[in-house]
Symmetry: C7
Subunit: 86 residues, 7 copies
């Protein structure tokens, strides 16, 4: 909108998703739904494609497994890469 030097130096939150590509992510969605899977695609609306995916129960355990999930971005609360526990 206007010249905002500090903001220009920041990475776009959406582009930070690029670093999660081909990694396993967990996404918390509206309606109390959580899913995990390997992030293979996303767009600027945060629409996501997750492979080897699963819907998770409250304790984070897989409830239903899906080969591939297309998640609607408007339903996403947050996305996070799952890091390997040491």
């Amino acid at each position: 909108m206007s010249k905002a030097p500090p903001q220009l130096k920041l990475p776009s939150p959406i582009k930070v998703l690029t670093k999660m590509l081909n990694k396993e992510v967990v996404a918390r969605l509206k309606g109390g739904v959580a899913v995990k899977g390997v992030l293979t695609a996303y767009d600027g609306c945060m629409n996501l494609v997750l492979d080897d995916a699963a819907e998770l129960d409250k304790s984070g355990e897989p409830l239903t497994r899906y080969g591939r999930l297309v998640v609607r971005g408007s339903q996403v609360i947050y996305v996070s890469a799952i890091e390997a526990s040491p």
Copy 2:
């Protein structure tokens, strides 16, 4: 918006739905509703047409059967192809 080479190589999540055409999919919708059916059409808003469709109960069993469902994209949480169990 700007040149984002990594993103350009990605398939659009919406276009990934093309690979689910004429396959049985399950779609989780807002309001705790889930449906399944053969995906015969979709558009960029994730509006979906499902043939040989059914609304599912909590355990994933068909609750009400419909010949054809038109689902409003803004209500979709995720869509997944149902793979044949081996």
Copy 3:
């Protein structure tokens, strides 16, 4: 947006509603509301006009009858033609 040959061949989900015109449909709406009636008009937002309509209770039985319902598209979860049981 761009040339997407497979998508161009698909019927628009909204236009699939044309085949439901003058047929009895059931529409599941937000807020746990379901209605049925003869679809006599719709537009690109999925605003619907249902004649000889009724709001349905949880088991799908008519709860309140209405001569004509105008349904706001933004509240629609899905629409389906009710097929005659053989």
Copy 4:
């Protein structure tokens, strides 16, 4: 958007509200709220003006009476003319 002959012949759902002008209507709104009153104005967003209006309780009985209600269209689920019982 494109040439859609069948759709062009349809009345717009919004314009169907014209036939309800100066008639008593019931409107189901979000948040479990229902109101009735004489429809004296509306616009393309389904904003409504209801005269001799009332909020209704679960059984459809008047709960609170209002001389005039201005209803925000984005909160409307459906609108229906109340027909005189024979």
Copy 5:
């Protein structure tokens, strides 16, 4: 959008709010919240300014009093002038 003679004769629902200026109104808002106060300003989004205002409890009694409330239009379900009881 197009020529719609009947609609052009109607007052805009938003402009009907003009007649409620400087009168006490009650506004039902999303989230089960209701407020009342003297309407001293509004805009086309139904953003409202209420003076000598109060949030109301379920039975319509003042719960918390405020000198002036700025209400966000997108949260408004309906607005009504409170008429003097005879």
Copy 6:
């Protein structure tokens, strides 16, 4: 949109927030959340900056204190200046 003389004389509800600058305000937000603090900035979406802020419990008592809160306008139900009790 069109010439609306009465409306032009009204202050914009958003600009009424100017009079609340540097005063303590309470803001009721979606999801049953309420906050208070000194209003030090706002914009046309009702995004708010509150200093010396706190989230409030149901009875209006501070639950969690924050030096500075940035509130997203789309979540605001209403904003009010807290007046000093005499």
Copy 7:
């Protein structure tokens, strides 16, 4: 939109987030979710990137830890820097 001198002097609420960069923040999100982490990026929609992040339980204790969270701005209720307790 129009000349509004007082508003022009105000910092934009979104830009106030700049002062929270590289600090630990807590963000309350829709659906009763709260997260904390070091704010490393944001954009004009309030999309956030939080490093060394965690989802919090009702009492504000870490429930699930995440290396990096991308939060969708449309789900944010408020953001606050966590100040060091003296």
